[in-house]
């Protein structure tokens, strides 16, 4: 029987997925710097991706795709704060917000470096420190929630998490700089 290879996706869909795959970590980093709850931030990233897909025909290929989707994400973040009635001091300062976006554009390679360094640096933490990070970053528990679970105070948890994150930052930024980042 004649055999034919599977059909490929259409050109524009393939291009969008490739561009989005590269840009998505930067978009998530930007949104998480503006929105505190992981679920809210991830919803906004999803909405950004959906809008980018809907409006992909408007995208001007001579411009940076990352800048384009960060612009969409910016609007989503502003809308989130408008609809929820919450306040964020960085979002309220639009000039600062624009500066943030400018700094995020083109940071894909830096984020990749940070991801790789994170793997390395996490191995240097104790099991206890890693489990604490899991509670914060997987269960999405606040310091108060973690304290409730463990029967301790949120102060202690805040301190612990602060120390872990500070040590990680030092390790990651040192690693990235040592590797030419």
């Amino acid at each position: 029987m004649p055999e034919r290879p599977a059909q490929f996706e259409s050109h524009s869909a393939a291009k969008l997925t490739a561009l989005w795959t590269k840009a998505q970590p930067t978009v998530l980093a930007f949104v998480l710097s503006m929105v505190h709850r992981f679920e809210d931030a991830e919803d906004i990233v999803q909405q950004t991706g959906m809008t980018a897909a809907e409006r992909f025909t408007d995208y001007d290929e001579s411009r940076s795709f990352q800048a384009w989707v960060l612009g969409i994400a910016r609007l989503k973040v502003l809308r989130f704060y408008r609809d929820s009635g919450k306040h964020n001091i960085l979002v309220a300062d639009e000039a600062l917000l624009d500066q943030m976006i400018d700094h995020h554009v083109g940071r894909g390679p830096r984020i990749n470096d940070i991801n790789l360094a994170l793997e390395n640096c996490l191995t240097k933490l104790t099991d206890r420190a890693r489990k604490m990070l899991e509670l914060r970053y997987v269960r999405e528990l606040t310091t108060g929630d973690i304290a409730d679970y463990l029967g301790t105070t949120s102060n202690t948890i805040s301190v612990t998490l602060h120390r872990i994150r500070k040590a990680l930052r030092k390790c990651i930024i040192g690693y990235v700089q040592a590797n030419g980042g």
């Binding site: 034919r4 919803d43 509670l135 120390r163």
Partner: protein, 520 residues
């Protein structure tokens, strides 16, 4: 009030616990210099990476398992830290700012009015990195910090740094895999120290090109083909970010698991491959032997698909698993051993490699959109008789140089054979086909005539493939067109090292060439 350090301000901000006054401090600090802004963005990126890293690692983990993690926590050290913090806070109370009452945790605006504890499922976008379906369960407690507790928190944050020593590892990380073999491998820049015999710890690794064979401590063996980005999770599990690998899992590695953003594969005693494309996020799982359970990573409730030998399934973020698996493609791209990688052909142009030989190469039996296929027929055959009138020397062969077609492959030569097969499928049009083939070892001979092909089918052809005699039954009186007739468009060029062949053919029906290369 003394200003807090930028690191503390950033942490309070990222956790949504910043007061207005602290917010002003943070904004002022951010505006001081581009370096401050860059540092803040690095911190946000690390925050985001931590989220991604932990979610990825815990894909598939049940709520119960997560709660088990909580229960496993050793709280002894934390309680002692708490005591230290309380003592220190009593001393420094007057210097410390107050924390706000935390906001109760509202549900996301996009989640509607679900009650706490209610499970919601959403359908979202068909792009990689986005959840297709997500179930979320409301969490309960909105923590309330009394003034004293709040003060203690900052006291601890400021002062415990002086006395708490973070426990960096007292034991080295476990060695969970070994690099047992490789072929023309180039590891990513940050892994240049990896050499044969290297012992791997859990972590993320990347291969730019070539092949590496890793043996995991539980016994699973992996052949990874670059470019490939993967994460060793433990001695029996791996996360594939993108790239291609083939795995062999013996009984000791039962339930060996490979996760990808879209598919999760659990071995039930088998050999299988996974191919995850970096551009589209499309994942293909193929089983060569045994049985593999496949499920979609993001939807834990979705049904599982069992893949048997010689079956495959392809999925991406946008689609559910098909009801039935597809037959394993003959043109699958998995390299299942380093030895196979050493024997690999490098192809370019309108040709695909069949790793599973076709059942038939009769006229019109094997028509592909890329015009031509090539497949290995036999390995290590010793020629019992010389084969005359074949192409053996470097150089260009076409109508102008017909006198060069007088080479002979001597008897006693040990060869591997490959068949190049080009079929127009009787479309009635002449569609030219140009390919470049780089063989792993030098060419002994190229058999381009119908007679030479017919004579060697039995000794050098694949035993599971039936060959055309050059006369198709549908066209009993047609000209024998199996070999290349070297019309004015047909051309073969053999490089000086006899490893590279440039081939251009065009025919109304079919052209074949049998290549014999030196055997190992």
């Amino acid at each position: 009030m003394d200003p807090l350090s930028p690191d503390i301000l950033i942490d309070l901000y990222l956790d949504g616990m910043l007061t207005d006054e602290q917010g002003d401090q943070l904004v002022a600090w951010l505006k001081q210099s581009p370096e401050n802004m860059a540092y803040f963005i690095d911190c946000a990126a690390i925050h985001s990476s931590l989220r991604r890293h932990h979610v990825v690692r815990n894909i598939g983990q049940t709520r119960r398992e997560v709660l088990g993690t909580v229960a496993d926590l050793d709280t002894a050290d934390i309680v002692s830290e708490q005591r230290v913090a309380e003592k220190l806070s009593e001393i420094e109370l007057s210097k410390l700012p107050e924390l706000p009452k935390p906001q109760p945790k509202p549900r996301s605006a996009t989640q509607g009015a679900a009650t706490e504890g209610q499970v919601q499922t959403k359908t979202v976008l068909n792009l990689p990195g986005l959840r297709v379906y997500r179930s979320s369960t409301g969490t309960g407690s909105g923590a309330w910090f009394g003034p004293r507790t709040a003060v203690s928190a900052i006291a601890a944050m400021l002062l415990l740094g002086l006395v708490l020593v973070f426990v960096w590892p007292t034991a080295p990380p476990p060695l969970i895999a070994t690099l047992t073999s490789q072929h023309e491998v180039q590891w990513a820049e940050q892994h240049q120290a990896i050499a044969l015999g290297h012992k791997f710890t859990p972590g993320r690794y990347a291969i730019d090109k070539g092949f590496a064979e890793l043996r995991l401590a539980r016994g699973a063996s992996l052949v990874l083909e670059g470019p490939c980005d993967f994460e060793l999770l433990n001695d029996n599990a791996l996360y594939l970010h993108h790239g291609r690998l083939a795995a062999t899992a013996p009984e000791s590695a039962h339930l060996f698991t490979i996760d990808t953003p879209h598919l999760k594969l659990v071995d039930l005693g088998t050999e299988f491959g996974v191919d995850l494309r970096a551009d589209s996020g499309q994942a293909t799982a193929a089983v060569f032997k045994g049985l593999v359970e496949v499920s979609q990573t993001r939807d834990k409730n979705a049904r599982k698909l069992m893949l048997n030998a010689n079956q495959q399934v392809t999925a991406d973020a946008s689609a559910a698993l098909p009801d039935e698996p597809a037959p394993l493609s003959r043109a699958h791209r998995f390299t299942r051993s380093i030895e196979e990688s050493r024997n690999r052909l490098v192809l370019s142009g309108q040709v695909i490699l069949y790793r599973i030989p076709p059942a038939s190469v009769h006229d019109k039996h094997l028509v592909t959109d890329v015009n031509a296929v090539i497949f290995q027929e036999r390995q290590g055959v010793v020629l019992k008789a010389p084969i005359a009138n074949v192409l053996t020397k470097p150089g260009e062969y076409n109508l102008k140089f017909y006198d060069r077609f007088d080479g002979t492959a001597p008897s006693g030569t040990k060869v591997d054979s490959y068949l190049f097969h080009y079929d127009q499928g009787g479309r009635g049009e002449v569609k030219p086909c140009s390919v470049k083939i780089v063989f792993p070892r030098p060419l002994v001979a190229a058999l381009t005539s119908t007679e030479a092909l017919d004579q060697t089918d039995q000794s050098l052809g694949h035993p599971d493939t039936t060959y055309s005699s050059g006369k198709d039954s549908a066209y009993p009186h047609a000209f024998r067109t199996r070999g290349i007739d070297f019309n004015d468009r047909d051309r073969i060029e053999i490089s000086h090292d006899r490893r590279t062949v440039l081939l251009s053919v065009s025919a109304e029906r079919m052209d074949q060439v049998r290549f014999l290369i030196e055997s190992e």
